[in-house]
């Protein structure tokens, strides 16, 4: 099996894992709608229906398998959810009603269930988003939003952000090098004025770069719209394939709600 490789140099492209799979081939907007709908079915499931979450997990593992995205790509990216894990862990210490003894601590049953719900739903949501970004190039994701009637201007702003994120973060890194080569080390609150000064300079440079980019675009005939270089045709079959994911999710969620009444 070839090792997963990534394309491009901007932040978004690094998240994409190049493969040739059914999932990769689906148009971006179809996948985005399917994933968001699937996440909504997950979050409407009552937390006490444990089997439902097991099924959701199996489905996502299936999608990852179909798209051939290995666990070692998915797991490290799941670290973004760590901050709120602490929040979920607090839940059992709050809440009313019956309590259970766990390791000598008296914990609220309702709190335990709520904490579990937050944890599992958050985790399934994170994995879904990771799969979406790993199977769809960032640019396609944004163009897909445009086909979903998201205002073109918003998509353009996001595209500019992706295109220039490395230029600006490299600029920030050069400023950091310059600061440090003058003997600066950030030690505490007293260093804030220096760091903020770089922030101010970074804003001026970013703003002026924006003005230059705009002039360059004008000289190439920009009048508020960007030309579409590729036309994507989305077929009913694409929608049918992708929407089978939230359809199954909805079936599980409704069953779980019905069983848990």
């Amino acid at each position: 099996m070839p090792s997963p490789h990534t394309h491009g140099h901007d932040v978004g492209e690094r998240l994409f894992v190049h493969r040739h799979s059914v999932i990769h081939r689906l148009p971006a907007e179809v996948k985005t709608v399917a994933m968001v709908a699937f996440i909504f079915t997950v979050i409407m499931t009552p937390p006490n229906q444990f089997w439902a979450f097991a099924l959701y997990a199996v489905i996502l593992v299936g999608v990852a398998g179909l798209a051939r995205i290995p666990a070692r790509v998915i797991l490290p990216r799941m670290l973004v959810e760590v901050p709120f894990v602490f929040f979920a862990l607090l839940m059992p210490f709050f809440g009313t009603g019956p309590t259970v003894e766990v390791l000598g601590l008296s914990l609220s049953q309702a709190g335990l269930l709520a904490g579990w719900g937050i944890l599992i739903k958050g985790t399934l949501g994170v994995v879904s988003s990771i799969l979406l970004a790993a199977t769809t190039p960032a640019r396609d994701l944004l163009l897909g939003l445009e086909r979903l009637k998201v205002p073109e201007l918003l998509v353009q702003i996001a595209s500019f952000m992706l295109r220039y994120v490395h230029v600006v973060s490299d600029e920030m890194h050069r400023m950091k090098l310059a600061r440090e080569s003058r003997g600066f080390t950030a030690t505490g609150v007293r260093s804030w004025p220096i760091i903020a000064q770089s922030g101010g300079a970074l804003f001026i440079r970013s703003y002026e770069r924006g003005e230059r980019v705009h002039l360059a675009m004008l000289s190439r005939g920009y009048s508020g719209r960007l030309p579409q270089l590729v036309t994507v045709t989305t077929t009913a079959a694409d929608w049918f394939t992708a929407m089978s994911l939230p359809a199954v999710g909805l079936l599980i969620a409704l069953t779980a709600i019905w069983v848990g009444r």
């Binding site: 978004g12 998240l15 996440i39 909504f40 997950v42 979050i43 409407m44 937390p47 990216r77 799941m78 973004v80 959810e81 901050p83 709120f84 607090l90 709050f94 809440g95 609220s108 309702a110 709190g111 709520a114 937050i118 599992i120 739903k121 958050g122 949501g125 988003s129 970004a133 994701l141 205002p151 201007l153 918003l154 353009q156 702003i157 996001a158 500019f160 992706l162 220039y164 994120v165 600006v168 950030a186 030690t187 260093s191 804030w192 760091i195 903020a196 770089s198 922030g199 101010g200 804003f203 001026i204 970013s206 703003y207 002026e208 924006g210 003005e211 230059r212 705009h214 002039l215 508020g224």
Partner: protein, 244 residues
């Protein structure tokens, strides 16, 4: 060498924290808010909107990665809503921060996709609008000079963060799935966010102060109130020729 440090990180709401109906309604509200901002930004910046708001979005994204050391290995970073609004106006500022949140959610799984509306309201729209009104209100009363602009920016940053946390509390009260009582959440969230707000205020003030010193004309929050001697004619062509 940078020593690995603990960062006080902005918490983007994950999936499943706020129930489905509330998240969906928040999505609709966020869409309406963004539509208003798009309209306002277009009036202010015309076809410059996309490149300028895009570059400012990158700037906010980069600023959020800038570590401000606090003490004992902890550090904080900027949210940036108030800063963006002061620098490029409330509409374009809110757009820039909202785009950052959109990209973080869609590409980095930072913040749930179902919670995108909630996160955009709290961190994009509320911070920018509150920051803008506090800043403009103060500047109108106390006038424009570097210390005064910095004082106004400090308060704008400071107030924007706890108000943003109140928006979260409201969402939690309506559709929270946790068992922590709303009163406890209110006290904890607002308390913590006043502390975070102080940091936000200081960074906002210092950054606005640094911009004001060099290019006061680029601080949109005072663009119509600059004293004559501070007016600089900005010409992007000459700036580009100077190289930056």
């Amino acid at each position: 060498m940078q020593i690995q440090s603990v960062q006080v990180h902005t918490m983007h709401i994950p999936d499943g924290f706020i129930n489905a109906p509330t998240s969906a309604v928040a999505g609709v509200i966020a869409v309406i808010g963004i539509a208003i901002c798009l309209n306002g930004a277009r009036k202010q910046l015309d076809e410059k909107t996309a490149p300028l708001a895009g570059l400012v979005a990158v700037f906010i994204f980069a600023m959020q990665m800038l570590n401000f050391p606090v003490a004992l290995g902890t550090s904080g970073h900027l949210l940036g809503g108030a800063l963006a609004a002061i620098l490029i106006g409330p509409y374009a500022g809110a757009l820039a921060v909202s785009v950052v949140i959109l990209v973080q959610g869609l590409l980095f799984a930072d913040g749930g996709l179902s919670a995108l509306g909630l996160n955009i309201i709290n961190m994009g729209l509320v911070t920018a609008v509150v920051g803008w009104f506090v800043f403009r209100g103060l500047v109108k009363v106390i006038g424009v000079s570097r210390p005064k602009v910095m004082a106004a920016a400090f308060l704008a940053g400071l107030v924007s963060v706890p108000v943003s946390s109140l928006a979260f509390v409201l969402e939690y009260a309506i559709g929270g799935t946790g068992t922590v009582p709303v009163s406890t959440v209110t006290v904890a969230m607002v308390g913590v966010h006043i502390l975070i707000g102080i940091g936000e205020g200081v960074i906002t003030a210092l950054t606005v102060g640094a911009v004001f010193l060099v290019r006061p004309d680029l601080v949109y929050g005072v663009h119509d109130r600059l004293p004559k001697q501070l007016l600089v004619t900005s010409n992007p062509v000459t700036t580009s020729a100077n190289g930056s």
